[in-house]
C-alpha cells in the first residue's frame, strides 16, 4: 500500500443515531455508494484524513521515481532504457494526478511539498531500500508495483470523487509497470547462473519490504475502522497482504525462484498460503526515517526542488511580463 499508516481524524466511528443531521446525511450517501465531490459538505476529519492519505500516496509516487532513476543510465539495452524512462515518467504523472486530487480539498501543492521536504509527511517505506542490481528493476516492477496495484484497484471505488478518478487513471497505467518488471525477471532466470543468482538475490531483498507495503497487521492498525466507514479504505491491510502472497507465490514458482520464507505453506482450510510476518520493528524504523536510504531519498528530492527554484521563478516572471505587455499569455 502506498499510504501505509494514515492517522484518522475524528472521534471514532459513531452510530447513525449519534451523528449530527449533516453527518448522518453524509454517511448515508457514502453507504449508498454515492461519490462525495469537492465543494460538498464533509466532516472535517474526513477532509483531513483524506489530505493525509492522498498526499502520502502522491509523495510515494514522487519518491518512487528515485530508486529506478538510478538505473536509467545503466539499463542493459536501449529498449530497456526507453521502457524504464516511460515507467518513471508515469510515476511522475501519478504523483501529479494525486496532488491535484488533494488540492481539491483545500491544500496547495507547495504546502504538500513542504510537508514532504521537512519530513512532516510520510511516503511508502519501500522506497527507502536501495536498488543494487539490474534485477532489482525486475523485482521492483513485479513486486512493488504488484503490491501497489493490489491496493489501488479497490480504491477506484473510494468515496471521494477526485481520488477515485485519479485511481482509475493510475490503475490503467500501472499494469504495464508490473508486467515489465516480471518480464525482466523472466529474462534473468533464462540467462546465466550469475543472472539467476542475481534474480534470486533481488527477490530475497524485496519480498519482506513488499509485504510491509500493506501497512501494519490488522490487530495493530488503529485507524482502520473510521476510514473503512468513510470508504477511503476498502480492504484491511491483512486481507490485501494475503491476496498479494497468494498471487505472487505461483508467479515465483513459474520463475523458478524460491520465496525467502521457510514457513511458507499452502493452507487448504483457508484457501491461501501461511507465511511469516515481516519484521515490524524494521518497518517502523524505516518509516520513522532510519531505513537504508531515507536520507539519500529526501536529500535528492529537496535538491531537485531547490535547484529548480530559479526555473520556477523564471516561468512566473515570463508569464507576468507577457501579461503586462498585453500578449495573450493566459
Amino acid at each position: 500500500m502506498y499510504s501505509q499508516i494514515v492517522k484518522t481524524d475524528g472521534t471514532g466511528v459513531k452510530s447513525l443515531a449519534d451523528m449530527t443531521p449533516e453527518e448522518r446525511a453524509f454517511q448515508q450517501r457514502i453507504d449508498a455508494d454515492q461519490k462525495i465531490e469537492p465543494k460538498e459538505w464533509m466532516p472535517d476529519g474526513y477532509r483531513k484524513t483524506l489530505i493525509r492519505q492522498i498526499s502520502q500516496h502522491a509523495h510515494s509516487e514522487l519518491v518512487g521515481q528515485l530508486p529506478e532513476a538510478n538505473w536509467i543510465t545503466r539499463a542493459p539495452t536501449l529498449e530497456r532504457k526507453a521502457i524504464l524512462l516511460a515507467k518513471v515518467q508515469d510515476e511522475a504523472g501519478h504523483g501529479l494526478y494525486l496532488y491535484c486530487a488533494a488540492e481539491t480539498l483545500g491544500i496547495s501543492r507547495d504546502e504538500m511539498f513542504e510537508q514532504l521536504h521537512t519530513g512532516k509527511a510520510r511516503y511508502s517505506s519501500i522506497f527507502n531500500y536501495p536498488t543494487l542490481t539490474w534485477a532489482d528493476m525486475g523485482a521492483v516492477g513485479w513486486l512493488v508495483d504488484g503490491a501497489a496495484i493490489m491496493n489501488q484497484v479497490p480504491l477506484q471505488r473510494t468515496s471521494y470523487g477526485p481520488y477515485a478518478r485519479a485511481m482509475v487513471r493510475i490503475c490503467k497505467e500501472e499494469s504495464f509497470h508490473q508486467r515489465q518488471g516480471f518480464h525482466i525477471m523472466m529474462q534473468m532466470v533464462k540467462g546465466s547462473d550469475a543472472q539467476r543468482r542475481m534474480a534470486q538475490d533481488a527477490f530475497n531483498r524485496f519480498w519482506h519490504p513488499a509485504l510491509m507495503m500493506f501497512g501494519p497487521s490488522d490487530k495493530d492498525s488503529v485507524h482502520s475502522a473510521q476510514s473503512m466507514a468513510w470508504k477511503i479504505k476498502i480492504n484491511t491491510n491483512d486481507e490485501l497482504r494475503q491476496k498479494f502472497v497468494d498471487q505472487t507465490v505461483p508467479q515465483a514458482k513459474y520463475l523458478g525462484l524460491t520465496v525467502p520464507d521457510d514457513n511458507l505453506q499452502w493452507n487448504e482450510e483457508k484457501g491461501g498460503y501461511d507465511y511469516s510476518e515481516p519484521d515490524w520493528d524494521e518497518f517502523y524504523a524505516v518509516l520513522s526515517g532510519n531505513g537504508p536510504c531515507n536520507k539519500e531519498r529526501l536529500q535528492a528530492r529537496v535538491s531537485a526542488w531547490n535547484d529548480g527554484e530559479w526555473f520556477r521563478d523564471g516561468l512566473i516572471a515570463n508569464a507576468e511580463k507577457k501579461q503586462a505587455s498585453g500578449e495573450v499569455a493566459a
Binding site: E40, L96, C100, S108, E111, E114, R165, I316
Partner: protein, 114 residues
Amino acid sequence: MSSGKTSSNTDVEGSENKEQRKQETPLWEIFIRGQHGLNHRHVGSLHAADAQMAINNARDVYTRRNEGVSIWAVKSTQIVASAPSDKEPLFDPANSKVYRHPTFFDIPEEVGHM
C-alpha cells in the same frame, strides 16, 4: 477534478508557513478529444505558468498513450460551476418527465422498428 481553489484552508494542517511560500503557478483544467470524434472530455488538472506551458504539460501528462487528438486548457478560476446545494432545484424537475424518454411509449410489435 478541481475546485479551482489553490489557496490553502487555515484549518488544514501544514498551513503555518504560508507567508514564506512563493506564488504557485496557476491551476488549469484539461480537456481532451479522443480519436473518435467525440466531445472534449475533462481529464484532470495541472499547474502551468502560461497557456503554452499548460498545453505542453497536458500533452506530457494526459496523452502519453494516444489518448487524444486535441487539447483544451482552461484556467480553473475561469470555470463557473453549479453549487452542490442547487442540486435539487436544478435536477429534480427532470425526474417527473419520464415521457422525454422514448421507452415511455409502448408501440405494438406489428408496427415494427421505430
